[in-house]
Protein backbone atom coordinates (compact mmCIF):
# COMPACT_ATOMS: atom_id res chain seq x y z
CA UNK A 1 0.00 0.00 0.00
CA UNK A 2 1.04 3.58 -0.64
CA UNK A 3 0.97 6.30 2.03
CA UNK A 4 0.93 10.01 1.14
CA UNK A 5 2.68 12.61 3.32
CA UNK A 6 2.36 16.38 2.98
CA UNK A 7 5.71 18.13 2.72
CA UNK A 8 7.61 21.13 1.40
CA UNK A 9 10.64 19.05 0.41
CA UNK A 10 11.74 16.06 -1.66
CA UNK A 11 13.09 13.54 0.85
CA UNK A 12 12.26 11.65 4.03
CA UNK A 13 14.22 14.23 6.02
CA UNK A 14 12.01 17.05 4.69
CA UNK A 15 9.50 18.75 7.04
CA UNK A 16 6.00 17.27 7.41
CA UNK A 17 3.72 20.09 6.17
CA UNK A 18 0.93 20.80 8.66
CA UNK A 19 -1.49 22.14 6.05
CA UNK A 20 -3.15 19.58 3.81
CA UNK A 21 -4.98 21.59 1.11
CA UNK A 22 -2.17 24.03 0.56
CA UNK A 23 0.72 21.63 1.06
CA UNK A 24 3.44 22.38 -1.55
CA UNK A 25 4.09 18.67 -2.28
CA UNK A 26 3.00 15.12 -1.56
CA UNK A 27 5.56 12.43 -0.85
CA UNK A 28 4.00 9.06 -1.71
CA UNK A 29 5.78 6.16 0.01
CA UNK A 30 5.30 2.57 -1.12
CA UNK A 31 5.29 0.37 2.01
CA UNK A 32 5.95 -2.78 -0.02
CA UNK A 33 9.00 -1.62 -1.98
CA UNK A 34 10.28 1.15 0.27
CA UNK A 35 10.46 3.47 -2.73
CA UNK A 36 8.82 6.91 -2.86
CA UNK A 37 7.86 9.55 -5.39
CA UNK A 38 7.19 13.26 -4.88
CA UNK A 39 4.25 15.03 -6.57
CA UNK A 40 3.96 18.77 -6.91
CA UNK A 41 0.84 20.52 -5.52
CA UNK A 42 1.67 24.11 -6.51
CA UNK A 43 -1.56 24.64 -8.44
CA UNK A 44 -3.50 24.09 -5.21
CA UNK A 45 -1.11 26.16 -3.14
CA UNK A 46 -2.32 29.12 -5.19
CA UNK A 47 -6.00 28.15 -5.64
CA UNK A 48 -8.54 30.85 -4.79
CA UNK A 49 -10.80 28.34 -3.12
CA UNK A 50 -11.28 24.58 -2.86
CA UNK A 51 -7.61 23.72 -2.31
CA UNK A 52 -8.52 20.93 0.10
CA UNK A 53 -10.93 19.38 -2.40
CA UNK A 54 -8.35 19.46 -5.18
CA UNK A 55 -5.55 18.14 -2.97
CA UNK A 56 -7.76 15.27 -1.81
CA UNK A 57 -8.53 14.43 -5.42
CA UNK A 58 -4.81 14.52 -6.23
CA UNK A 59 -3.94 12.18 -3.33
CA UNK A 60 -6.64 9.74 -4.44
CA UNK A 61 -5.30 9.78 -7.99
CA UNK A 62 -1.75 9.13 -6.76
CA UNK A 63 -3.07 5.79 -5.54
CA UNK A 64 -2.51 6.38 -1.84
CA UNK A 65 -4.57 4.32 0.61
CA UNK A 66 -3.61 6.53 3.56
CA UNK A 67 -2.70 10.15 4.17
CA UNK A 68 -0.47 11.46 6.95
CA UNK A 69 -0.68 15.24 7.41
CA UNK A 70 -1.00 17.90 10.09
CA UNK A 71 -4.67 18.69 9.78
CA UNK A 72 -7.64 17.97 7.55
CA UNK A 73 -10.73 20.14 7.02
CA UNK A 74 -14.32 19.06 6.31
CA UNK A 75 -14.35 19.23 2.49
CA UNK A 76 -11.06 17.38 2.06
CA UNK A 77 -12.27 14.85 4.61
CA UNK A 78 -15.41 14.20 2.56
CA UNK A 79 -13.43 13.64 -0.65
CA UNK A 80 -10.79 11.43 1.00
CA UNK A 81 -13.45 9.35 2.74
CA UNK A 82 -15.32 8.88 -0.56
CA UNK A 83 -12.04 7.83 -2.19
CA UNK A 84 -11.33 5.34 0.60
CA UNK A 85 -8.17 7.13 1.77
CA UNK A 86 -7.62 6.79 5.53
CA UNK A 87 -6.49 9.99 7.29
CA UNK A 88 -3.86 10.09 10.03
CA UNK A 89 -3.23 13.49 11.68
CA UNK A 90 0.36 13.74 12.83
CA UNK A 91 2.53 16.34 14.56
CA UNK A 92 5.92 14.85 13.60
CA UNK A 93 8.63 17.26 12.45
CA UNK A 94 9.75 15.32 9.37
CA UNK A 95 8.27 12.92 6.85
CA UNK A 96 10.67 10.22 8.03
CA UNK A 97 9.53 10.53 11.65
CA UNK A 98 5.90 10.50 10.52
CA UNK A 99 6.57 7.33 8.51
CA UNK A 100 8.14 5.65 11.53
CA UNK A 101 5.12 6.54 13.66
CA UNK A 102 2.75 5.27 10.97
CA UNK A 103 4.58 1.98 10.54
CA UNK A 104 4.77 1.51 14.33
CA UNK A 105 1.00 1.92 14.51
CA UNK A 106 1.38 5.01 16.72
CA UNK A 107 -1.01 7.17 14.68
CA UNK A 108 -4.78 7.13 15.19
CA UNK A 109 -7.07 7.29 12.18
CA UNK A 110 -9.21 10.45 12.11
CA UNK A 111 -12.94 9.78 12.29
CA UNK A 112 -13.85 13.41 11.53
CA UNK A 113 -12.26 16.60 10.23
CA UNK A 114 -10.05 18.15 12.94
CA UNK A 115 -10.17 21.78 11.71
CA UNK A 116 -12.87 24.13 10.43
CA UNK A 117 -13.34 24.92 6.76
CA UNK A 118 -12.33 28.42 5.70
CA UNK A 119 -12.69 30.76 2.77
CA UNK A 120 -9.22 32.21 2.38
Amino acid sequence: MKVAFTTSGDSLSAPLEQRFGRAPKFLVYDLDSGAFEVADNVQNLNAAQGAGIQSAQAVAKLGAGALVSGHCGPKAFRVLSAAGVKIYPCAAATVGEALEQYVAGALAEAGAPDVEGHWV
Binding site: A47, A48, Q49, G50, A51, I53, Q54, A56, Q57, A60, K61, K75, R78, V79, A82, A83, W119
Partner: protein, 291 residues
Amino acid sequence: MSAAPQKNKSRVIAVASGKGGTGKTTVSLNLARTAGAGVRLLDCDVEEPNAHLFLKADLLAEETAGIPVPRVDPALCDGCGECARFCAYNALACFDGPPLVFQDMCHGCGGCMKVCPRGAITEKDHRIGVVETLRAGDITLVQGRLDVGRAMAPPLIHAVKRHATGGGLVILDAPPGTSCPVIATLRDADVVVLVTEPTPFGLNDLALAVDTVRTLGRPFGVVVNRMGSGDGRVHDYCARENVPVYAEIPDDRRIAEGYSRGELLADALPEYRPLFAALLETALARAEGAA
Protein backbone atom coordinates in the same frame (compact mmCIF):
# COMPACT_ATOMS: atom_id res chain seq x y z
CA MET B 1 -37.29 60.03 -37.20
CA SER B 2 -35.02 60.65 -34.26
CA ALA B 3 -34.90 58.13 -31.47
CA ALA B 4 -37.04 59.14 -28.50
CA PRO B 5 -35.43 58.88 -25.08
CA GLN B 6 -36.16 55.53 -23.49
CA LYS B 7 -38.98 56.13 -21.03
CA ASN B 8 -38.48 52.88 -19.17
CA LYS B 9 -34.76 53.20 -18.64
CA SER B 10 -33.93 53.62 -14.94
CA ARG B 11 -31.36 56.18 -13.79
CA VAL B 12 -29.03 54.38 -11.41
CA ILE B 13 -26.85 56.20 -8.86
CA ALA B 14 -24.55 53.90 -6.88
CA VAL B 15 -23.09 55.04 -3.56
CA ALA B 16 -19.84 53.26 -2.70
CA SER B 17 -16.58 53.58 -0.79
CA GLY B 18 -13.33 51.70 -0.44
CA LYS B 19 -13.38 52.14 3.31
CA GLY B 20 -16.28 51.06 5.51
CA GLY B 21 -18.01 53.53 7.81
CA THR B 22 -17.49 56.61 5.66
CA GLY B 23 -21.20 57.39 5.26
CA LYS B 24 -22.52 55.40 2.26
CA THR B 25 -25.82 54.63 3.93
CA THR B 26 -26.22 58.22 5.17
CA VAL B 27 -25.68 59.55 1.65
CA SER B 28 -27.89 56.88 0.01
CA LEU B 29 -30.78 57.41 2.40
CA ASN B 30 -30.69 61.18 2.17
CA LEU B 31 -30.45 61.11 -1.62
CA ALA B 32 -33.55 58.88 -1.60
CA ARG B 33 -35.36 61.16 0.84
CA THR B 34 -34.45 64.18 -1.31
CA ALA B 35 -35.59 62.52 -4.55
CA GLY B 36 -38.99 61.72 -3.06
CA ALA B 37 -41.87 60.01 -4.84
CA GLY B 38 -41.10 56.95 -6.93
CA VAL B 39 -37.49 56.50 -5.82
CA ARG B 40 -36.17 53.02 -5.14
CA LEU B 41 -33.34 52.45 -2.70
CA LEU B 42 -31.57 49.12 -3.14
CA ASP B 43 -29.44 48.01 -0.20
CA CYS B 44 -26.81 45.86 -1.92
CA ASP B 45 -24.82 45.21 1.25
CA VAL B 46 -26.47 41.81 1.55
CA GLU B 47 -24.08 40.62 4.24
CA GLU B 48 -25.25 43.33 6.61
CA PRO B 49 -28.07 45.50 5.23
CA ASN B 50 -28.64 48.53 7.45
CA ALA B 51 -30.63 51.13 5.49
CA HIS B 52 -33.86 49.73 6.98
CA LEU B 53 -32.75 50.83 10.45
CA PHE B 54 -33.35 54.45 9.42
CA LEU B 55 -36.75 53.95 7.78
CA LYS B 56 -39.97 53.03 9.52
CA ALA B 57 -40.73 50.64 6.68
CA ASP B 58 -43.47 48.07 6.15
CA LEU B 59 -42.57 44.75 4.55
CA LEU B 60 -44.46 44.38 1.27
CA ALA B 61 -42.94 41.25 -0.22
CA GLU B 62 -40.28 38.65 0.37
CA GLU B 63 -38.80 36.30 -2.23
CA THR B 64 -36.15 33.65 -1.77
CA ALA B 65 -33.04 33.79 -3.93
CA GLY B 66 -30.78 30.93 -4.92
CA ILE B 67 -28.15 29.82 -7.37
CA PRO B 68 -28.37 26.88 -9.75
CA VAL B 69 -26.07 24.09 -8.54
CA PRO B 70 -25.34 20.80 -10.33
CA ARG B 71 -27.23 17.60 -9.69
CA VAL B 72 -25.53 14.52 -11.10
CA ASP B 73 -27.48 11.52 -12.33
CA PRO B 74 -25.32 8.52 -11.32
CA ALA B 75 -27.05 6.34 -13.90
CA LEU B 76 -25.82 8.55 -16.76
CA CYS B 77 -22.42 9.62 -15.32
CA ASP B 78 -19.42 7.56 -16.44
CA GLY B 79 -16.99 9.34 -14.12
CA CYS B 80 -14.98 10.98 -16.88
CA GLY B 81 -14.24 13.99 -14.67
CA GLU B 82 -14.72 16.70 -17.33
CA CYS B 83 -16.99 18.67 -14.96
CA ALA B 84 -14.43 18.71 -12.14
CA ARG B 85 -11.63 19.71 -14.54
CA PHE B 86 -13.75 22.56 -15.88
CA CYS B 87 -14.87 24.01 -12.54
CA ALA B 88 -12.71 27.03 -11.71
CA TYR B 89 -14.10 27.07 -8.17
CA ASN B 90 -13.33 23.45 -7.29
CA ALA B 91 -16.98 22.77 -6.51
CA LEU B 92 -16.73 19.27 -7.99
CA ALA B 93 -14.33 16.46 -7.13
CA CYS B 94 -14.07 13.39 -9.32
CA PHE B 95 -12.16 10.09 -9.19
CA ASP B 96 -13.72 6.80 -10.30
CA GLY B 97 -17.43 7.37 -10.63
CA PRO B 98 -19.82 10.28 -10.18
CA PRO B 99 -18.34 13.53 -8.84
CA LEU B 100 -18.85 14.83 -5.34
CA VAL B 101 -20.63 18.21 -5.41
CA PHE B 102 -19.78 21.00 -2.96
CA GLN B 103 -22.77 23.34 -3.22
CA ASP B 104 -21.24 26.10 -1.12
CA MET B 105 -18.29 26.41 -3.49
CA CYS B 106 -20.49 26.68 -6.60
CA HIS B 107 -20.92 30.05 -8.29
CA GLY B 108 -23.83 28.79 -10.38
CA CYS B 109 -22.18 29.35 -13.77
CA GLY B 110 -23.67 26.20 -15.36
CA GLY B 111 -20.38 25.26 -17.05
CA CYS B 112 -20.27 21.71 -15.66
CA MET B 113 -23.66 21.02 -17.19
CA LYS B 114 -22.45 22.30 -20.58
CA VAL B 115 -19.19 20.31 -20.67
CA CYS B 116 -20.68 17.00 -19.48
CA PRO B 117 -20.49 14.72 -22.56
CA ARG B 118 -23.18 12.37 -21.19
CA GLY B 119 -25.82 14.94 -20.25
CA ALA B 120 -25.68 13.61 -16.70
CA ILE B 121 -25.83 17.02 -15.01
CA THR B 122 -28.97 19.06 -14.44
CA GLU B 123 -29.40 22.08 -12.19
CA LYS B 124 -31.28 22.50 -8.97
CA ASP B 125 -31.87 25.64 -6.94
CA HIS B 126 -29.70 26.18 -3.87
CA ARG B 127 -31.06 28.88 -1.55
CA ILE B 128 -28.62 31.61 -0.52
CA GLY B 129 -30.90 34.28 0.97
CA VAL B 130 -33.97 36.46 0.61
CA VAL B 131 -34.86 39.69 -1.16
CA GLU B 132 -37.27 41.92 0.77
CA THR B 133 -39.29 44.82 -0.59
CA LEU B 134 -40.31 47.44 1.98
CA ARG B 135 -42.11 50.74 1.80
CA ALA B 136 -41.51 53.86 3.90
CA GLY B 137 -43.46 56.88 2.70
CA ASP B 138 -42.17 57.85 -0.75
CA ILE B 139 -39.27 55.42 -0.61
CA THR B 140 -39.38 51.82 -1.78
CA LEU B 141 -36.54 49.92 -0.13
CA VAL B 142 -35.31 46.62 -1.57
CA GLN B 143 -32.73 44.70 0.44
CA GLY B 144 -31.01 41.35 0.25
CA ARG B 145 -30.28 39.24 3.30
CA LEU B 146 -27.66 36.58 2.73
CA ASP B 147 -28.34 33.44 4.78
CA VAL B 148 -25.93 32.95 7.68
CA GLY B 149 -23.06 30.68 6.65
CA ARG B 150 -23.26 31.51 2.93
CA ALA B 151 -20.27 33.20 1.33
CA MET B 152 -21.69 33.96 -2.11
CA ALA B 153 -22.96 37.55 -2.09
CA PRO B 154 -22.89 38.49 -5.83
CA PRO B 155 -25.80 36.26 -6.98
CA LEU B 156 -27.99 37.74 -4.24
CA ILE B 157 -26.90 41.26 -5.21
CA HIS B 158 -27.96 40.46 -8.78
CA ALA B 159 -31.36 39.36 -7.44
CA VAL B 160 -31.70 42.66 -5.55
CA LYS B 161 -30.70 44.58 -8.67
CA ARG B 162 -33.41 42.96 -10.75
CA HIS B 163 -35.59 45.50 -8.92
CA ALA B 164 -33.63 48.35 -10.56
CA THR B 165 -35.30 48.05 -13.95
CA GLY B 166 -38.47 49.65 -15.29
CA GLY B 167 -37.66 53.35 -15.19
CA GLY B 168 -37.39 56.01 -12.49
CA LEU B 169 -34.58 56.80 -10.11
CA VAL B 170 -32.71 53.98 -8.38
CA ILE B 171 -30.11 54.45 -5.66
CA LEU B 172 -27.75 51.57 -4.87
CA ASP B 173 -26.17 51.44 -1.41
CA ALA B 174 -23.04 49.38 -2.12
CA PRO B 175 -21.10 47.16 0.28
CA PRO B 176 -17.71 48.54 1.35
CA GLY B 177 -14.43 47.60 -0.28
CA THR B 178 -13.44 46.80 -3.87
CA SER B 179 -14.10 43.05 -4.13
CA CYS B 180 -16.66 40.94 -6.04
CA PRO B 181 -19.80 42.20 -4.20
CA VAL B 182 -18.80 45.79 -4.99
CA ILE B 183 -18.16 44.99 -8.66
CA ALA B 184 -21.55 43.23 -8.83
CA THR B 185 -23.18 46.39 -7.47
CA LEU B 186 -21.34 49.04 -9.51
CA ARG B 187 -20.70 47.49 -12.91
CA ASP B 188 -23.74 48.93 -14.69
CA ALA B 189 -24.47 52.02 -12.58
CA ASP B 190 -24.96 55.27 -14.52
CA VAL B 191 -22.90 57.19 -12.00
CA VAL B 192 -20.96 56.25 -8.87
CA VAL B 193 -20.71 58.49 -5.80
CA LEU B 194 -17.63 57.56 -3.75
CA VAL B 195 -17.94 58.57 -0.10
CA THR B 196 -14.72 59.13 1.80
CA GLU B 197 -13.35 60.94 4.83
CA PRO B 198 -10.37 63.29 4.93
CA THR B 199 -8.06 60.88 6.75
CA PRO B 200 -5.08 58.75 5.64
CA PHE B 201 -7.29 55.62 5.79
CA GLY B 202 -10.00 57.39 3.83
CA LEU B 203 -7.53 58.47 1.16
CA ASN B 204 -5.87 55.06 0.83
CA ASP B 205 -9.18 53.28 0.30
CA LEU B 206 -10.56 56.07 -1.90
CA ALA B 207 -7.65 55.57 -4.30
CA LEU B 208 -8.46 51.84 -4.48
CA ALA B 209 -12.13 52.63 -5.16
CA VAL B 210 -11.20 55.17 -7.85
CA ASP B 211 -9.07 52.51 -9.60
CA THR B 212 -12.04 50.14 -9.43
CA VAL B 213 -14.64 52.49 -10.95
CA ARG B 214 -12.16 53.62 -13.59
CA THR B 215 -11.60 49.97 -14.54
CA LEU B 216 -15.37 49.53 -14.74
CA GLY B 217 -15.61 52.66 -16.90
CA ARG B 218 -18.25 54.31 -14.70
CA PRO B 219 -18.54 58.11 -14.36
CA PHE B 220 -17.92 59.06 -10.74
CA GLY B 221 -17.30 61.79 -8.20
CA VAL B 222 -16.46 62.05 -4.53
CA VAL B 223 -18.36 63.10 -1.41
CA VAL B 224 -16.04 64.06 1.44
CA ASN B 225 -17.76 63.31 4.74
CA ARG B 226 -16.76 64.68 8.17
CA MET B 227 -15.00 67.64 6.53
CA GLY B 228 -12.72 69.32 9.04
CA SER B 229 -11.87 66.15 10.94
CA GLY B 230 -8.66 65.39 9.04
CA ASP B 231 -6.39 67.10 6.56
CA GLY B 232 -6.30 68.26 2.93
CA ARG B 233 -4.77 65.19 1.35
CA VAL B 234 -8.05 63.80 -0.06
CA HIS B 235 -8.67 67.12 -1.81
CA ASP B 236 -5.08 67.23 -3.07
CA TYR B 237 -5.52 63.73 -4.47
CA CYS B 238 -8.82 64.63 -6.16
CA ALA B 239 -7.26 67.75 -7.75
CA ARG B 240 -4.25 65.77 -8.95
CA GLU B 241 -6.39 62.95 -10.39
CA ASN B 242 -9.05 65.25 -11.88
CA VAL B 243 -11.72 63.65 -9.72
CA PRO B 244 -14.67 65.98 -9.09
CA VAL B 245 -15.73 66.59 -5.47
CA TYR B 246 -19.54 66.52 -5.63
CA ALA B 247 -20.21 67.52 -2.03
CA GLU B 248 -18.68 68.04 1.39
CA ILE B 249 -20.52 67.08 4.58
CA PRO B 250 -19.12 68.86 7.64
CA ASP B 251 -17.88 67.12 10.77
CA ASP B 252 -20.97 68.11 12.75
CA ARG B 253 -21.60 66.34 16.05
CA ARG B 254 -25.35 66.78 15.60
CA ILE B 255 -25.21 64.52 12.51
CA ALA B 256 -23.70 61.71 14.56
CA GLU B 257 -26.28 62.26 17.31
CA GLY B 258 -29.17 62.01 14.83
CA TYR B 259 -27.59 58.92 13.26
CA SER B 260 -27.28 57.26 16.66
CA ARG B 261 -31.03 57.78 17.14
CA GLY B 262 -31.76 56.23 13.74
CA GLU B 263 -32.92 59.54 12.23
CA LEU B 264 -32.50 60.64 8.63
CA LEU B 265 -30.17 63.61 8.40
CA ALA B 266 -32.51 65.48 6.04
CA ASP B 267 -35.31 65.13 8.62
CA ALA B 268 -33.30 65.76 11.79
CA LEU B 269 -31.33 68.74 10.43
CA PRO B 270 -33.30 70.36 7.58
CA GLU B 271 -30.46 72.81 6.89
CA TYR B 272 -28.65 69.94 5.18
CA ARG B 273 -31.43 69.34 2.64
CA PRO B 274 -29.95 71.74 0.04
CA LEU B 275 -26.64 69.86 0.22
CA PHE B 276 -28.32 66.60 -0.79
CA ALA B 277 -30.52 68.32 -3.40
CA ALA B 278 -27.38 69.76 -5.02
CA LEU B 279 -25.61 66.38 -4.81
CA LEU B 280 -28.58 64.64 -6.45
CA GLU B 281 -28.65 67.23 -9.22
CA THR B 282 -24.89 66.93 -9.83
CA ALA B 283 -24.97 63.13 -9.88
CA LEU B 284 -27.97 63.03 -12.22
CA ALA B 285 -26.36 65.55 -14.56
CA ARG B 286 -23.23 63.39 -14.68
CA ALA B 287 -25.32 60.28 -15.35
CA GLU B 288 -27.20 62.03 -18.17
CA GLY B 289 -23.97 63.41 -19.60
CA ALA B 290 -22.48 59.94 -19.78
CA ALA B 291 -25.58 58.27 -21.23
